[in-house]
Symmetry: D2
Subunit: 396 residues, 4 copies
């Protein structure tokens, strides 16, 4: 039985039998077209089976077609990703694919990008409010004493997640906590939410004095960049690095090491003074394009795009450049990874399914570094000024 | 003439005649399939004309199909958007559309969301490096004296952009600046980049002592959240607000005002202590879903998702809740807005083209507020504990 | 033998025999007077024995006389400090003592201030730089495996300090660490520096691949406020709290709970948006005045003044207010605590010497809370405006 | 008439005739001694006339004697301070004076420290709360239109202060503002408070819709470090710089430029990741010691200690190092500057009274830079490790 658009008033029609059919979608498309006057011809043109959508979207009417360009080959020297990759990037920003492609070309010419996953943590952050700070502190001690029991409760709810530790941050009458988990090949936000709720139920039934409780206290910080995540990792903490000799820089980039480096110095202080969560160039571009292509939750760009640049001229004159992504939230299982185009893009990278999440993290971080190289070069090559070479001199 | 995949080695094939044809795309699809073994059947299934893609993507191989759900009706009381809207949300995160839809239902029941665009600025942030701080300071004075001439240079490059002011931030031997523009209906990042480069060329030719120059110094801060953007706006600064009586809260949300408010207090301190750039709940979800659907640059989620929540219980007992988006980067012209599905989604909102950008900003902010209401409610309803109503008591 | 001022050129004279005598001081006083023309009559008037100064100052010429006012009685309900205290405050800022005194009077009238020390950590933050992130990560694992041996090295250098744990923060090729200690009754900065240097010597001799090493990497963050210290404590983390009934607020403060609370809401968002490290009112005032009086290192005001305010109206209408000092660096042994006036001021509080450090921390935090109450009241009482009581109406 | 301690209960005795006499002080000393059992012999030993204390302290009982050491000569190349200075530093931290003295010696040997005051602003930050954001935005436009009238009101309250501009920061229903002033030779916090209160009275009587008002909204941010002050200056923004040839570094510091520089790179990323408000070494030490000596408000160390380090190796190999103090709050008139030892210390620097405030700011900043050089050197010289020169190798 269905609520027809004709009788629904302003209410969006849903099918109470099965809302994930082409018909259910079409009915909503007609409803929207009638109400708004807009044509949804392209939106309604999709190639996937609507039956694949439960768990990914409600009230579906079709699909956004986000153009995908391919960049590569990207030469990666990771612990999980090794060799050349062709990287799918879904974007509407012109030059993005070309810029990453140029960076990949440079990187490949000098031996590729080294990548390392250095930490792994997904969290939910319940807060426990007491009469006063004293009870909150004592509860904190109690939490430490009962960690194994709490972990048993949390871990019982999931087969791939595992509670690592519980961090404590007391303030006022409240103990803010972070329940940190590893989550296998899933990004894991839902998994850790469920596990933490279950563990907190046990906690509440065994510790009587909790005055208020909230399962999330803005300390996770889901869909939000934060210092605590930059310090302590959310998702994967991944570091991509490259070393180039001065000759390689000259040959591949047509600039001098010192030019690249000096611009980094100015930008690093700029980021510090601006209070930015990223002293690099544009990690968000590569991450977003790959997230959309591969079925990651693109809203996590808010936190995943934070980055630390560290560059140096090594004692032997080599140019070392790295990007650290402290909160890269990725999965190769669950979420949007199984959808039609998304799965294909993961398969392009041999990153679909079990045991692939660190590989995907490495490829994304390597891609980001190539974008940093490329944009850094663009800024330097176009706009460098010295006392002997004034701004604009070289530009017609 | 084309580079065939057969002869390209690892190089991605491009057509030197016209790279934006179905054939050029297919050639790359075959190339990628051969190289990676992946099928790209769905990726290669798109309904748009590849000839529309220049300026949006390079090396195109097809499209990501991101499921779109529709939420609404959303009742908006803006200065530009007024009445009911059906909101397209492109996402792969289950429950997202349903959650926003629930928030819209609540908001509609109490008279809708009031929205106001309060500021408008897009910027590029060149840095000028001198021998010492003294020359940098004097250059700053010179910049102020010559603002009108500089503005004339910048404004000459664009018909819809206009240089508002130049902010100065001195540190060490460097004057960091922000060239702030209004940009009409375009998001305007490219526009302001070009205008600022042109203005800086004039500056460099009229002020001799600049030792180094960089067109961007991480002070913009493009694709990065930052305090400076949160303070001074990037894109539109938009505020969405709602007021509910205690009875309305009880009826529509099945909770008490005090419950909603108390959880906000705990979350606000959580965000402050966590060093988050957002003390709200999940603005990134709504913004990202609408950005992808409507052809905005989704990488701007990095900065656009920052938000300030402010809630209060008014003297008469009413519940006031607001969300301030200080860096919402949107356009209804240019970028991805003219692409096939993207344009349709803008048209669903009557937001395609000239004179529509503030309307779109208002609808997005109103949507975000509905999401805050809905998630806030979920947290409270599921997990509230008092001394008389312990955690888990109500949950089987 | 001495270097006379007559022959020293511009060099400040020192006595090579014993530089901590009245004569050595007088010689420098004469030298400065000759060079600068200033009289140092008052500077040279001190009552302490110069022989007490080694370890506290070099090139001494006398003393700054900072006026001390006394505030109180302050009623404290701590775990270490209990009862009434008279608090010495060294300051040159008029109204400061009076304001704190008023706050103490209010607090005493409603049963005093509850205070709890909830955490204790002093740290040094060495960084270890490697060829690449991979070696840095592996070193991190090695550090964990060898914690007991490292702790043995560190703890061997001190009888009151004890290494608690080592936190790791990887970025680029570097592993940043925080070596966290408890330090008994000393503030402990020097103690942990020495212990960490000793431990790092052992580390370097047992782990061969360290490319660079620095004993301090701006992660401690000594004499600097930082998010990491606000999250993880530097010195003592102390929380002071008070609960007042609406009648008590009305009687003692002549305002309504709602007025106090509403102003806090506005100020809390102000602090968040301003990027402040403190959403309270003026903790630095009380802390600085007590630090100078009691021989604490006043430069630590940079980090010790950070604070979290949390206020709420409890379900029964009571006004709860707290201040959390996450980085209060205090000692009752060592540093300036044994100097003449400084020791007397500690003795006023019965806080001199062994076993007193938590007591001192509690008294300082209680004092800070009284200052918050008092300034909060001043802002509200003087400047509150409602639609019925406009700004300035009550002010002639 | 006086309240005797005998009859006061716990109340601190005050003289209603004249509380600023030796007798009034002695009475309180006896009271405190009786109550606490502590001797206050040294506290009660002061050389100043108590009649000088009104406006600086209440309930005075004597003075803290903070040891003063002298460092120098410091060679300054400022616009206001030129030549050699002997710098009074009040501290109880051993090695502090010696360390600054060493830095001054290095700086003098290479031509001294160049210093420039680049900005000047003292502020009060009222917030205006409205029914909704729309009224707040319109009020913002009104404020701009009426700036001259508001300025006339503010400036009428002071002869040395002048309202520069009003910054606006909208969020929710509130317009946060910063009223920025220049304040002559006074630090000016009280001056701008009074001027702003007066201006706001005029505002409230001319703009009817203000729902709530608070004269301070944590946007100033008085006694608190903040991004907004780091961006926009509080007090003076001062930059101290030095350039050394590689030979000078080798000769005066016994290290290589590259060693100094590399440690800065590691520390700069450390500060960024730690969320510190200062990427330098220990500006708080020099600032606090000079603040206490010269009668500045030492509680302002909270905000004045924030700093930006910027170092580089110039193309010719020279080592450039600078420190930017964006919020140095100083006065040479008012506050504690006229007290006995404080005035003498200002006179040592020829910085007492009118027309001296920028000179004092320059000397303090130059001093801070010398401390950065000295501590930077200590870290490098003691703890540098390369693959050929392991940590500890050179240390017995």
């Amino acid at each position: 039985m269905e609520t027809s658009s004709e009788s629904s008033g302003g209410k969006i029609p849903r099918s109470s039998d099965d809302d994930y059919t082409a018909e259910a979608g079409s009915k909503r498309v007609r409803f929207v077209q009638e109400r708004t006057g807009a044509s949804l011809k392209h939106v309604a043109s999709y190639s996937f089976d609507p039956a694949t959508l439960p768990g990914n979207v409600e009230h579906f009417i079709g699909a956004a077609q986000v153009p995908i360009g391919v960049a590569g080959p990207l030469l990666v020297n990771g612990e999980h990703a090794q060799g050349e990759f062709y990287v799918p990037m879904a974007t509407t920003e012109g030059t993005l694919v070309a810029s990453y492609n140029r960076g990949m070309k440079i990187a490949s010419a000098v031996g590729g990008v080294k990548v390392t996953v250095v930490d792994d943590a997904m969290q939910r952050a319940p807060a426990f409010v007491f009469e006063s700070a004293r009870e909150a502190r004592d509860f904190g001690l109690w939490l430490k004493e009962h960690f194994e029991e709490i972990k048993a409760q949390a871990d019982a709810t999931t087969k791939s997640g595992s509670l690592r530790d519980i961090q404590q941050f007391p303030a006022g009458p409240t103990l803010y906590t972070r329940f940190n988990y590893t989550t296998g090949d899933a990004a894991g936000q839902n998994m850790v939410g469920k596990a933490t709720a279950f563990a907190c139920k046990w906690i509440a039934s065994h510790h009587p004095e909790i005055r208020h409780f909230t399962l999330e206290s803005n300390f996770a910080t889901d869909k939000k960049a934060s210092q605590v995540n930059m310090l302590h990792t959310r998702g994967k903490r991944v570091i991509a690095e490259i070393v180039m000799t001065p000759d390689q820089v000259r040959e591949e980039m047509k600039v001098e090491v010192e030019q690249l480096f000096r611009t980094r110095l100015v930008s690093n202080l700029g980021a510090f003074m601006a209070g930015a969560n990223n002293n690099g160039a544009h990690s968000a571009n590569g991450i977003t394009a790959m997230f959309i292509a591969t079925g990651q939750d693109a809203a996590n760009v808010a936190e995943s795009s934070v980055a630390y640049d560290f560059s140096e001229i090594r004692p032997n004159g080599d140019y070392y450049r790295s990007i650290t992504l402290p909160a890269l939230i990725v999965g190769t299982y669950g979420g949007g990874t199984g959808l039609a185009t998304q799965r294909e893009c993961l398969e392009m990278l041999d990153c679909y399914g079990d045991g692939k999440v660190n590989k995907l993290a490495e490829i994304i971080a390597a891609t980001v570094l190539c974008g940093e190289l490329s944009l850094g070069l663009a800024i330097v090559a176009g706009h460098w000024v010295t006392s002997h070479d004034k701004l604009g001199r070289n530009r017609p």
